[in-house]
Amino acid sequence: MALRSFADGALFAEVLGEGAPGILALHGWGRRGSDFRRALSDLPVLAPDLPGFGASPAPSEVIGAQGYARALAPMLDAFTDPVLVVGHSFGGRVAMRLAAEHPDRIASVILTGVPLLRLHAPRKPSMAYRLLRLGNRMGLVPDEVMERRRRRSGSADYRAASGIMRDILVKVVGETYEEELRSVTHPIHLLWGSNDREVSVEVARRAMSIREDAGLPVSLEVVEGVGHLLPLEAPDRLRSAVMERSR
């Protein structure tokens, strides 16, 4: 449960369990690797703090999930065999990119509460907001006023983010993963909380049918009464899912 540094100190990861690591666990936005302690403490897991979260320094440029996957690539050298990757929420998007870019190094993927697809088209900001934003860009509206307005309408993640992490959030929020769902050949297990209000089970069901239509291995397990933070809310279910696939 202590941190170990990777990539010359650019990344820090929780080291769980004993022996050679076999599992890579990727946390959600605004969280950190320690989220997996409850579920996976006795398994050979590396759970990095993704860049910009926990102990790991923020990226120096605005990157998306693909950039995150590239930043994590040096960690794959810590594994001798193909890796079981667990991804929660934003970490699952990174897991999908990692599987797409390093197919030989990955064994299978477990995703929980991952925003893989958009169910609805994004809402356009109101005219008043766009005018204010234009005014701010032209130097007519002070940054403080703009920030106050942004805080009023932004998501909790957006309000909590600052500096480059806010730009990264804006970038990753717009990403979808249909293409990866159709191309990643590794078995994917979707483990979802039935009460997930951030990323509804409907997302998992649609992802499942995309995989099935493409003839790719996929399974779905819905955990009743559990919300978005499944690794903390239903640690036993995550542990079982991992145990089943790490043998």
Binding site: M1, A2, L3, R4, G9, A10, F12, A55, R148
Partner: protein, 355 residues
């Protein structure tokens, strides 16, 4: 009319938590002036009835600007007139409000104030110096080392902490010495240095409140419950409500008599060695019956008011006693003894000193 003045906020990581402590103190004391110290370091007079949410987006709308003049008889100045408080209740956590900076400023203005003086405040916020001071007077401490370029001074795993600072922000457990060094390089909280000590697996935290007026008194001992195998995080410690976590603690902690007596005895010695004043919280680590002095928090969240359960002590009484103490004795008195002009009269021309 003169009355106490409560100051909170300040350019600190714990700015927000300080607002919660300050508003509690102001509300409990009643007739006080309230000064909000903004994140950017400006002073503002605010209404005592304000709520925490009024500060969520920065300086509240109705705040009136104040200045501070570091000269005797001046201090907090509103519309060119000194506020002349009877005493200043320092409700700041972390940063310059707790590390002696504000205390030094209050000394220069001749204000009486609560909590320790400038030097004891600085000692409490320097983990290396505090550990060394405790070891110097023979109190049990963990080996604590400054993280530099050198090799590992002892075996891991390590707990690595920012050298300066009062909260749990930035504290990490590291598997090996390379990770300790990498954390020190990359963590913004460790930019001014870091200390490392052995991570005691299976240890527990034990915390006790100390107050120094009307006499030295100790509170019940609490055991905050850690997350699975982890350390006590900033979120757990504070985000519930100003240091008062609703769950996650055992108060009083279940201790055998000898262990409790040892902690109480050590606490009195820490209070003397660290120059504590007002209300402080001392944190101990215990592993297999062995106790180590870990850290001191010279201005704890909520003034650690929740710890005073046996015998029960009201918040109002606790805060009033701090004010009484501040009024009774200044934290610091400057002395000019030995500078009676004799040396100057006998000195002759300065030019003669340059030859």
């Amino acid at each position: 009319m003169s009355r106490p003045l409560v100051v909170f906020g300040g350019p600190s990581d714990e700015h927000d938590i300080s607002i919660l402590t300050g508003l509690q103190v102001a509300r409990a004391l009643g007739d006080v002036d309230v000064v909000y110290w903004s994140k950017s370091g400006d002073w503002h007079l605010v209404d005592a009835g304000m709520e925490a949410a009024d500060f969520a987006d920065g300086v509240p709308r109705k705040a009136r600007p104040l200045t501070f003049e570091a000269a005797p008889g001046r201090g907090f100045v509103f519309k060119k007139k000194p506020l002349a408080p009877t005493a200043v209740v320092v409700a700041c956590h972390g940063g310059p409000g707790e590390d002696g900076t504000l205390q030094g400023l209050l000394d220069l203005a001749g204000h009486r104030y609560t909590g320790p003086g400038q030097a004891a405040s600085a000692l409490g916020m320097d983990k290396l110096a505090f550990g060394a001071a405790m070891a110097a007077v023979g109190l049990p401490t963990l080996q604590r080392t400054l993280v530099g370029d050198g090799d590992a001074p002892f075996d891991g795993p390590y707990i690595v902490k920012p050298r300066f600072g009062g909260s749990s922000i930035g504290i990490e457990v590291a598997d090996d010495w390379d990770t300790v060094k990498a954390l020190t390089r990359s963590s913004p909280f460790m930019a001014q240095g870091a200390v490392a000590e052995p991570y005691l697996k299976g240890s527990r935290d034990l915390q006790i409140g100390v107050r120094t007026h009307p006499q030295l008194e100790l509170s019940a001992i609490e055991e905050p419950v850690r997350p699975e195998g982890g350390i006590y995080t900033y979120d757990q410690k504070y985000l519930a409500w100003g240091g008062e976590v609703s769950g996650g603690r055992q108060l009083p902690a279940q201790l055998d008599g000898a262990l409790e007596a040892e902690i109480r005895d050590l606490s009195r010695k820490v209070a003397a060695a660290a120059g504590l004043r007002g209300v402080a919280r001392i944190d101990f680590l215990e592993q297999d019956g062995k106790v180590y002095v870990n850290e001191v928090n010279t201005i704890p969240g909520s003034m650690a008011a929740y710890l005073w359960i046996d015998p029960p002590l009201s918040r109002t009484q606790l805060f009033q006693d701090m004010v009484t103490e501040a009024l009774a004795t200044p934290a610091r008195v400057f002395s000019t003894a030995g500078s009676d002009g004799t040396a100057l009269r006998n000195a002759g021309a300065i030019a003669s000193k340059l030859g």
